[in-house]
Every structure is written in structure tokens, then in C-alpha cells.
């Protein structure tokens, strides 16, 4: 016999560290029964290959039951196809992360013969299942998948899947490439000077056919966009581009039909191809993230309803005024209601940002979005779902108008585009009139060359490439920007507004501090540990973590008194934990003392002992970030919390006008509006539902998310919490991107200037102009790509350096 001492026992299934007493099964260690069960299930079904694809690939499963999906409302929404033999359903499984997941999920039919086949889309984390619904219900299928550790995310009815026009763009891009390539081929004889009349004519007509497809099919978006903007009396950068294309194409048609030349269809279709590549490149989509999410996504999908004295589950949408619901510990209140039975500690932190729990007695009102802490309560709904206190926020203008962020905002390209078009058109007209009167053989050459060479395709190419690279680089740093327009707005921001709770401050990672009147002996500590072990209150959990190595002793007369605390007897000890009053402790708070902590008081045998303090603390690195941001931006702080909870942060906000406390979600939104009225371009950085309005109102709303990137309020960008200290660098990167575009635009202006000076004199042949044009575009592409990658490399190196330090 020998005993093996392991430093750290790793769960064979999920790779987590096991507790002191791991579960051992077939010489393998598991952290919990859930993991062990998954292993057993896979092993019994010859799926142990799962563990060979990747090391400890599993996810600790949940025992959540998805039977509510059998409800007709859910079933009809989820099942995409159904006939007598099989049904087809798609689940979004956020937990998918490796090759093993793919192996397991595509072999589901081995676990249950009613599953016909499965197909996984790894990028979108979507699993499509074909199964026999008459023998395996939808709920049972979802429960099976959840029991493997892949809990399906059932989206709300209003969460629409992101539709994309990518297919159409791909088609247009492919066709444009085909046209451009073949047109070049057919233009060769012209460049080489092969002189054969009939061949030239054939090539000409073939080119014409290809060019027409490229212009009118692949370039069709330019026609519709320019038309739409002209109707609004707006000139965008697309207008001169379309002019360049049309003039080039028109001239080619004329030359080919009149047999006076070969035209330059190759350049025109090549240009369209380039422009479409740019459009494709700028459309980086993060399929696994959702930037559009409203309050309903935070609510449970089903609730427990009491009807005719019986409990039954019902989809949230079916809840009406007057219904009575059961709400368990940690569940969210779906609509405004009265508390009928029981007592609750309501946690409104998610809705208001306030960190203190609010005690609620029977008969009092509770508001939607609050999280119930305590024993099971019964509530009666008194307002409809979409009319509750919380949802009023979504009735604001900013939410109703999806384009409010872009409406009054002119991006650089369009600002320039307007002047550019006017100058270009007047130049072409003047040159045309001049040459018409002086030398009639030159006027058409001059006009065509001017319009073709000055076509601002350089800007149209450098734009999508620079900004597209920008959002790709930021995504590498876990900063996901919705689109390139957001990236550009980020560069223009001059005011930053931070939320406090959850954004700048976190529930502390630090050890809680103990403030007891006397030292406790081991038995007393064990008693406290055993007591908190019985409770799921957030503070109890923290104490449990803090007192890790204590042992549990048997207890009697355990009682959890909602809103007050816990009590129990251990042999001759009677221990109480909870509020100061409940435990007979005195709140000895010196005058002027600002508490930024949560305290848990203890008494033993009615003797007040003291308290354990759980500090809130700043997110690591935020002080440095605020310090550096202050020089470049106007920095504001808004919070739903009380002022005393932020004493340690206030030092970083020099001007007290720029700090506001006890804001409701609506007030936060109005705060942003007020700043915007002063002409500021605001970025809001927040995390919770209480910031949703402000995030929506601001030019750039950045949602900070700690663990689950897939659970953030509606926003323009999602930033991982640990990256927040580097926010300033990322904002500067966006500024760099815009500067790069401006610089390359200037360069192309110089470039065009030379060309134009020849073109105005009528000395530039359209053919040369048509060759210069793609060269210009390619050089812009190279500058944008190289510049953004260079700066991105610098960013990633500085990140590694900070980590090393």
C-alpha cells in the first residue's frame, strides 16, 4: 500500500481543480458528480474518443430541465422543419469551444437512437439536430444536450437572428472578379497592338457584355445608394465613384460600338471588383456575439404560475395581470407586482446600479428586473410585462429609432465626398467648355480623363481596409466593435462617461477583513462555517470561500430569517449571522466615516462579536487608466449607487460637476443627452441593464463584460472586463486609423493632382487614366493594411510587456 500525494487534482472531464475529496471513477478523478456522469455516459456509448481530441475538454454540466420547451409557443418557434418522419431544430450552444465538442455533438445519435443526425456550425456555435419528435420530445432533447455540459441558449422571441447580406455580396464579388479577369484577357490584343479588325470587334463586344454585367449587377448597390441619398439631398462619396464608373463605361460603349477604340472595360470592372473586396472586408461580423439585446433577454423564459391551487410552468409571454407566480431564490421578477407571501431582499443592482439589498415585506410593490434573494415568495402581477417601471426606458426615442446614432453624424468619407463632387464636377465642366471652344477634338478626352482619374476610389478602398483591419485587431484584444462606422465614431469621441458598479468597481477579490472584539476558537469558527454552508446568500458564499479549510459540525435548529440573517445551535453554541440589529451588534461607525463595504455581523450566545467586512474595490488598473484618459478626454462618472460607495474613486474626477450619483437608468440616459446638447461626442462605458439607455444614447456604447461575452446589454462594442485598463490605447488606435485614412487621402490627392493637371490640358489619354486608377487603389490598399497592422503589432507587444511586468 502506498499513498500518492497529488499537489493539484485536475478533473478528467472539465479540467477544473478538484476539491479535497475528488470523486474517483475508473482511476480517473472528477470534480463533481455531474462531470463523472458525463464521463460514464460517454464511456458507455463508446464515445471516449472525446477525451483524446483535446485535454480535459468537458464542461461541468447543469441539471437544468428544459421540459418547458414542449410548450407549444416555444416548440413552434424553435422547430424549423417538421414532417411525419423527423423534425429539425437549431440550438445555440455558447459552451462550444474545441475539437472535442465537435466530436461529441456530431455523434449525438449514439447517445439516443431517436436522434437521426446532427450538424454543428462551429463559428456560430449552432447545433442543428434532426430527430424523431414523436419519440423524443424537444424538451428532452434539450435536457440531454444540457446534461452533457452544453446548455442551449434559448433566445427570446424578439431576439432576431442576425441576417446577413453576405450571400449577395459574395455573388456580386465573384461575378465582378470573373468579369474583370476575362475583360483583361480580351483587352490584351489591344495592349499588344495586334491588328485584326474582326477579332477586335469580337473582343470589343465580349468586353461590352462583361462590363455591362459588372456595372449593372455587381455595381448595382452604388446606383441604389446614390439614388437614395440624392432623394434626401445628400451627396456621398459614392456619387463621384459612380460618376467615374459610368463615364468610363459610357465612353467604352461609345468606342466599341462606333469601332473607334477598345474602351477600358477592364479598368472599370477591375475597379468594381476592388470596391467590392473593400466592402466585403469591412463586414467583419462576430457571429457569436449579440449587439442587439433588450430587457427581455434578461428575464426567465418560463415562470412558475399558480393556477387553481396548482403549480405549473408557463412561458413568460403568456403572463397576464392578476397572475400569481412563485419566485425562488435568485430568480428575476418579470413584471411589476405585489409581494403576496413571504419576505424578500430585493437586489436591484442590475436595474439601478445600487449595491444594497432592499428588504420587502408582504403587500409591498416590487419592480421588474429585481433579483429576489431569500426563501420562495409568491407575487401577484399588477402591470403588463411591457408596461413595467423598468421597460419604460425602452419606450424612449433612442430605442425606437434604430438609426439615431448615424443620422446626424457625417463620416469623414461623406464629408469629403460632398466637396470633392462639387469641385470635380465644376472642373470637368470648365475644362469641357474651354476645350469645346478651343479644340473640339480634345474636349471629350479631357472630361472623361478628369472624371475617371479623380474618382475617389482611393478613399473608397483605404476606408474599408484601414477600419476593417482596425476592428480585426481590436477583436484580438477581446474588444469587439460592431462595425467600421462604430470604429470611426470612436475616433471622434471627446468625452467618456463611466458607470461605476460593475464597470470601474468589482466585488473585491481581496480577502474580507475581520473586525472581531475577541479571538474565536476553532469550534466557534467551525460553527460559523457550518452555518453559512447552509445558505445560498451571496455573502454567505463569500464567507464560505473565505473560511475554506474549516470543517463542518452538525447543527440543529437552523433558521434563515429573510432580510435579517441566519441562526443555528451547535451543542452549547448559539450562533447568529446577519445584520447589525439582528445580531445585537452596535453600528459603531465614527462620524464622517464613509463605508464602501458590505458588512456581515456575528454574535455567539447573544454576545456581539463584531463583523466581517467585504470591500468593493476598483477593478485592477482603472486608476492608471483614468489618470491617462484625463489628459485627452473629458471623463465623467455616473452611478445608480450612493456617493459614499465611491469615495476611493472620486479622487480621479477633478471636477465634481462631472460626477453624478443615485441616477435612475433614465437619468443616466438624460445625462448623456445633456452632454450631447453641449456638442460633445460621448462614449458610454457601462455593464448592466441599468446602463442600457445611456449605452444606446451615446455615440459609442461600450458594454463591459466579465465572464460571459454573450450576455451584455445592447451596445456598439463589447469589451472584456480585464481589458478595460487598456481602453485608452484602443481609443487611440481608432484615432490612428482615421489619421491614416486622412493621410492616404491627401497622398491620393497629390497623385490625382498630377493626373488632373495633365487631364485638364487634354493631354492625358483616358487609357492612361484608366491604368493609373487601379494603381492608385492598390497603393491605398497597401498603405491601409500595412499601417493598421504595424500599429496593431505595437499594441499587442505593449500588452505582452505589461503582462510580463
Amino acid at each position: 500500500m502506498y499513498t500518492e500525494v497529488l499537489e493539484e487534482v485536475i478533473c478528467y472531464h472539465c479540467g477544473d481543480e478538484c476539491s479535497e475529496t475528488p470523486i474517483i471513477h475508473q482511476e480517473k478523478t472528477f470534480c463533481c458528480h455531474g462531470c463523472e456522469q458525463v464521463y460514464e455516459l460517454l464511456n458507455d456509448n463508446q464515445l471516449e474518443e472525446y477525451y483524446n481530441c483535446d485535454l480535459n475538454p468537458g464542461i461541468s454540466p447543469t441539471d437544468k430541465n428544459f421540459d418547458f420547451l414542449n410548450n407549444k409557443a416555444f416548440r413552434d418557434r424553435l422547430i424549423t422543419f417538421s414532417n411525419a418522419d423527423f423534425s429539425k431544430v437549431s440550438f445555440h450552444l455558447p459552451a462550444i469551444h474545441c475539437r472535442s465538442c465537435l466530436y461529441l455533438l456530431e455523434n449525438l445519435q449514439k447517445l439516443n437512437p431517436q436522434i437521426i443526425k446532427t450538424s454543428l456550425n462551429f463559428g456560430k456555435k449552432d447545433l442543428t439536430v434532426w430527430f424523431k419528435e414523436d419519440q423524443l420530445s424537444l424538451g428532452a432533447l434539450a435536457t440531454l444536450i444540457a446534461s452533457l455540459g452544453y446548455e442551449p441558449h434559448i433566445s427570446n422571441a424578439e431576439e432576431k437572428p442576425q441576417n446577413n447580406d453576405q450571400k449577395k455580396l459574395f455573388l456580386k464579388l465573384g461575378i465582378a472578379g470573373f468579369c474583370a479577369g476575362n475583360a483583361m484577357l480580351f483587352s490584351f490584343p489591344e495592349y499588344l497592338g495586334i491588328d485584326d479588325g474582326s477579332l477586335q470587334a469580337l473582343f470589343g463586344y465580349l468586353n461590352l457584355a462583361l462590363g455591362s454585367v459588372a456595372v449593372f449587377y455587381s455595381g448595382s448597390d452604388y446606383f441604389s445608394n446614390v439614388y437614395a441619398h440624392l432623394k434626401l439631398h445628400k451627396m456621398t462619396i459614392e456619387l463621384p465613384i459612380l460618376l467615374g464608373i459610368l463615364v468610363g463605361y459610357g465612353r467604352s460603349v461609345f468606342e466599341i460600338i462606333s469601332h473607334t477604340g477598345a474602351g477600358y472595360i477592364d479598368s472599370v470592372s477591375g475597379l468594381i471588383f476592388f470596391l467590392l473586396i473593400g466592402k466585403w472586408f469591412q463586414q467583419k461580423s462576430f457571429d457569436f456575439l449579440s449587439f442587439e439585446r433588450n430587457y427581455k433577454a434578461y428575464f426567465p423564459l418560463v415562470v412558475t404560475k399558480i393556477a387553481n391551487g396548482k403549480e405549473e410552468t408557463a412561458p413568460l409571454e403568456e403572463i397576464q395581470v392578476g397572475d400569481r407566480l412563485l419566485i425562488r431564490n435568485q430568480e428575476i421578477i418579470p413584471a411589476d407586482a405585489y409581494l403576496l407571501k413571504g419576505q424578500s431582499q430585493m437586489d436591484y443592482s442590475f436595474v439601478t446600479g445600487e449595491s444594497e439589498l432592499i428588504p420587502i415585506q408582504a403587500g409591498q410593490s416590487i419592480y421588474a428586473g429585481g433579483k429576489h434573494v431569500g426563501e420562495v415568495i409568491e407575487i401577484q402581477i399588477n402591470k403588463e410585462l411591457n408596461q413595467s417601471h423598468l421597460t419604460q426606458l425602452w419606450e424612449q426615442q433612442a430605442f425606437k429609432d434604430p438609426n439615431h446614432k448615424t443620422e446626424n453624424w457625417e463620416n469623414f468619407a461623406n464629408q469629403v465626398g460632398m466637396y470633392f463632387t462639387v469641385i470635380l464636377l465644376s472642373l470637368a465642366t470648365i475644362a469641357g467648355i474651354y476645350w469645346f471652344n478651343v479644340d473640339q477634338s480634345r474636349w471629350s478626352n479631357a472630361v472623361v480623363s478628369i472624371l475617371v482619374i479623380a474618382c475617389p476610389c482611393a478613399l473608397a478602398v483605404s476606408y474599408p481596409f484601414a477600419l476593417g483591419h482596425g476592428i480585426r485587431w481590436l477583436a484580438k484584444f477581446n474588444f469587439f466593435v460592431k462595425d467600421i462606422q462604430t470604429f470611426e465614431r470612436m475616433a471622434q469621441v471627446d468625452t467618456l462617461v463611466f458607470d461605476k458598479t460593475g464597470t470601474l468597481t468589482l466585488q473585491s477579490q481581496q480577502e474580507p477583513s475581520v473586525h472581531f472584539n475577541r479571538d474565536l476558537n476553532d469550534t466557534e469558527w467551525n460553527a460559523i462555517y457550518s452555518l453559512v454552508f447552509q445558505s445560498t446568500h451571496p455573502l454567505s458564499k463569500q464567507v464560505k470561500k473565505f473560511l475554506q479549510n474549516r470543517s463542518i459540525i452538525p447543527l440543529t435548529e437552523f433558521k434563515e430569517i429573510s432580510g435579517k440573517g441566519l441562526q443555528a445551535s451547535f451543542d452549547d453554541l448559539f450562533v447568529q449571522i446577519g445584520s447589525a440589529k439582528y445580531t445585537l451588534n452596535k453600528l459603531n461607525t465614527p462620524e464622517g466615516f464613509i463605508s464602501s463595504e458590505t458588512r456581515l455581523f456575528v454574535s455567539i450566545n447573544q454576545e456581539p462579536i463584531g463583523f466581517i467586512e467585504f470591500p468593493w474595490e476598483n477593478r485592477p488598473g482603472v486608476e492608471g487608466m483614468l489618470h491617462s484618459l484625463r489628459h485627452q478626454y473629458e471623463v465623467h462618472l455616473i452611478s445608480g449607487d450612493k456617493k459614499e460607495h465611491a469615495a476611493h474613486l472620486l479622487d480621479w474626477f477633478e471636477n465634481q460637476d462631472q460626477v453624478k450619483f443615485e441616477c435612475s437608468p433614465l437619468e443616466k440616459m438624460e445625462y448623456i443627452q445633456a452632454l450631447q446638447k453641449q456638442g460633445k461626442i460621448v462614449a458610454m462605458i457601462g455593464d448592466g441593464l441599468n446602463d442600457a439607455g445611456a449605452l444606446k444614447q451615446a455615440a459609442v456604447g461600450i458594454a463591459v463584460s466579465d465572464d460571459h461575452l454573450h450576455f451584455t446589454p445592447s451596445s456598439d462594442a463589447i469589451l472584456k472586463g480585464s481589458e478595460l485598463p487598456r481602453l485608452g490605447e484602443y481609443m487611440r488606435y481608432s484615432k490612428f486609423g482615421l489619421q491614416l485614412i486622412k493621410a492616404s487621402f491627401l497622398l491620393s490627392l497629390v497623385y490625382n493632382g498630377f493626373g488632373l493637371s495633365y487631364a485638364i490640358q487634354g493631354n492625358l489619354y483616358p487609357l492612361i487614366a484608366a491604368i493609373l486608377m487601379p494603381i492608385n487603389s492598390i497603393s491605398m490598399l497597401v498603405i491601409a493594411t500595412w499601417g493598421m497592422n504595424w500599429k496593431g503589432q505595437l499594441l499587442s507587444r505593449s500588452k505582452i510587456r505589461i503582462k510580463a511586468e
Binding site: Q46, E49, N52, C53, R99, L102, Y103, E106, N107, L120, N121, F122, G123, K124, K167, F170, L171, G174, I175, F178, G181, N182, L185, D196, L199, L202, L206
Partner: protein
């Protein structure tokens, strides 16, 4: 030079064939998921008959 007509005909025929293949691949959604098939092909053959 007459051979040119034949060659152009052939080249166009081939090129249009590729375009049709491309359009077909888009329409049937083959370009939608470019990650999973690459992973799927690396999966070992399934040891199904191991008893």
C-alpha cells in the same frame, strides 16, 4: 487566326462553368461555414465496432 475563335469559345465555356459552380456553391450555403468542415476532416475515424 481562325483557331482563336475556337479557343475563345472554349475559354469562355470553361470560365462560365466556373461561375455557375461558384453561384451554385453560394446558393447552397457552402460558403457559410468555413471552420467546421476543416475541423471535421481531422477527426479520427470512428471506432464504432469496438465491443
Amino acid at each position: 487566326m481562325e483557331i482563336m475563335y475556337l479557343m475563345i469559345g472554349l475559354s469562355l465555356f470553361m470560365a462560365i462553368g466556373f461561375v455557375i459552380a461558384f453561384v451554385w456553391s453560394i446558393k447552397t450555403g457552402q460558403q457559410e461555414d468555413l471552420i467546421t468542415p476543416a475541423m471535421r476532416i481531422l477527426q479520427d475515424d470512428q471506432k464504432t465496432n469496438k465491443l
